[in-house]
Amino acid sequence: MISIHNLHVMLPGFSLRAVDLHVGRGEFFVLLGPTGAGKSLILESVLGNVHVAIGQIRVNGKEVTRMPPERRGIGIVYQDQALFPHLTVARNIAYGIRYLDGDREDAYRRMDALTDRLGLEDLLHRSVEHLSGGEKQRVALARALVVRPDVLLLDEPLTALDPNFRDEIRDLLKSIHEETGITVMMVTHDFTEAHYLAHRVAVIRDGVIEQIGSPEDVFRRPRTAFVAEFVGIRNVFEARLVGKEAVVEDVCFLLGRPARDGERHVAIRSEDLRVLGTATRPAGDCENVFEAVATKVVHKGFVSDLFLSVHGLPMRATLTTRECIDLDIREDARLALSVDPAHVHTF
């Protein structure tokens, strides 16, 4: 459990302002944002590596804001693993055991179980220098977990890995989290990772939290244009919103619920646009079926991107390549397009 209350951190040229976060016990929480947004700085504040100007940080209910790192009950796994180069794999993993209260035997048994679980048995006596990226990451994970921290911090643990290791470690993080029930706070700039792993995510931009919610929530119902674009929504427009209608230039989208006061944007995920076929259907004014012209078709393996012009409004749809070929969609094809009103998101 991590509570961050009204956290301010000032660095030359950058600051975190009024960050409030609560990570529940056993939750997998992800801090998400582009490079330089300040997500790692939040992590460093929880670790105790930066001076906190204003605010409190609690770990498992215990106020740690001014505590040294070794008393906070926190484990950390960094992107570059930060394994101790002068120690073997086994000594890296066992590093923290001597500082534990209570039964050492127990800790060594736990270490054995962990190395088994993470498939490190055969590497124990190796130097850490020549391990692969995936192996290094598993060693770093074992080292952090063996002392049973209250909270596990992960700083872009997948970013520096080769793509084939990335999936492996991602799956491992998920299952280790499920098995141990440990509270996790992870930093990443990759929304797909967050979507796959997180119970909840916070999207950060320029030191300020823009939105907190379940990945599904942030994915489906972003609250700002920045978040919408960050989670990969390709169709974000400023709109005039009246009742259950959103008007963007010459196109009128029907909404699933009446627009709220102050809302001025619509966002539609490219995969929520359904192509009904290449036959043109006359588009009524507001029934969410539109006439569109395909301006570009891009096959990208399993999925294809479809660039459309809907009465002059540039939009983008995602289909499976199979669908695309079955419907014989090519450039300049005229299409009928529909979108479920529930999928027209406004904010």
């Binding site: 040294p68 790192p69 070794e70 484990g75 950390i76 570059d80 930060a82 500082y99 080292r143």
Partner: protein, 229 residues
């Protein structure tokens, strides 16, 4: 060659080289004791006046050596408060081994601190952070992580400091003409008997320097960096 062998039978030569090595070694040892915590502080902490302090440390590298000697004598003189303390402790600077070691520490310490500071800076902070999160205190972290990763730079720093000290002449000649270290002996032989008589001593001193130099190369070899693709 005959000259060289004969020089070895010269008691003054042997005594001066031994004194050079001993005083330089002492300066290196003192650098290790006082310089290491200082270098760690400079590598890891930010504080007001840090830039200023770093400049002051590097200053002795650039000051003419006789001036260094004069400054040390000035400070150690009876008019200066530091001189009074030194006198009260029963220490004598002028013309003593203590004086020579003081001078050598003064000129050698900057080399030690610069080298070891760079060594500490090469230890990623993240390693120390990880160690702390695993329960190690600042001190444990230093001895279990920072020191094992940086000790090589300390050896290099001590060798550099020794080498610099062995070759010191201008400041020593002011502070302590006697007891005579090797460079002073060489100078005396040169002025008293001419080039020929100073050369054999010079060659022996160069050999000492070469040994240090080889040690330095051995310890400061960098690992071959991985091929970048």
């Amino acid at each position: 060659m005959a000259d060289l062998r004969e020089t070895l039978r010269d008691r003054d030569v042997l005594r001066s080289i031994r004194l050079s090595v001993l005083t330089s070694g002492s300066a290196a040892l003192l650098s290790f004791l006082f310089g290491t915590p200082f270098a760690y502080l400079l590598a890891r902490r930010e504080f007001r006046g840090k830039k200023m302090l770093e400049s002051v440390i590097d200053l002795p590298i650039m000051i003419p050596h006789p001036v260094v000697g004069i400054a040390i004598l000035g400070i150690a003189g009876r008019d200066h408060w530091m001189g009074k303390i030194i006198g009260a402790l029963g220490l004598r600077i002028m013309g003593s081994t203590t004086g020579i070691i003081t001078v050598l520490l003064f000129v050698g310490l900057p080399f030690y601190i610069d080298t070891v500071k760079a060594g500490f800076e090469a230890v990623p902070r993240r390693m120390e952070t990880v160690s702390r999160t695993l329960g190690a205190s600042t001190a444990s972290t230093f001895f279990r992580v920072t020191f094992p990763m940086a000790w090589r730079s300390m050896v290099v720093g001590m060798i550099l400091c020794t080498a610099r000290a062995v070759s010191e002449f201008g400041a020593i000649v002011i502070v302590a003409y006697h007891p005579m270290v090797a460079p002073v002996l060489i100078y005396e032989r040169f002025t008293a008997y001419g080039l020929r008589y100073s050369q054999p001593v010079a060659v022996w001193l160069i050999l000492v320097c070469l040994v240090l130099f080889v040690l330095l190369r051995l310890f400061s070899i960098r690992k071959p960096t991985d091929r970048k693709n």
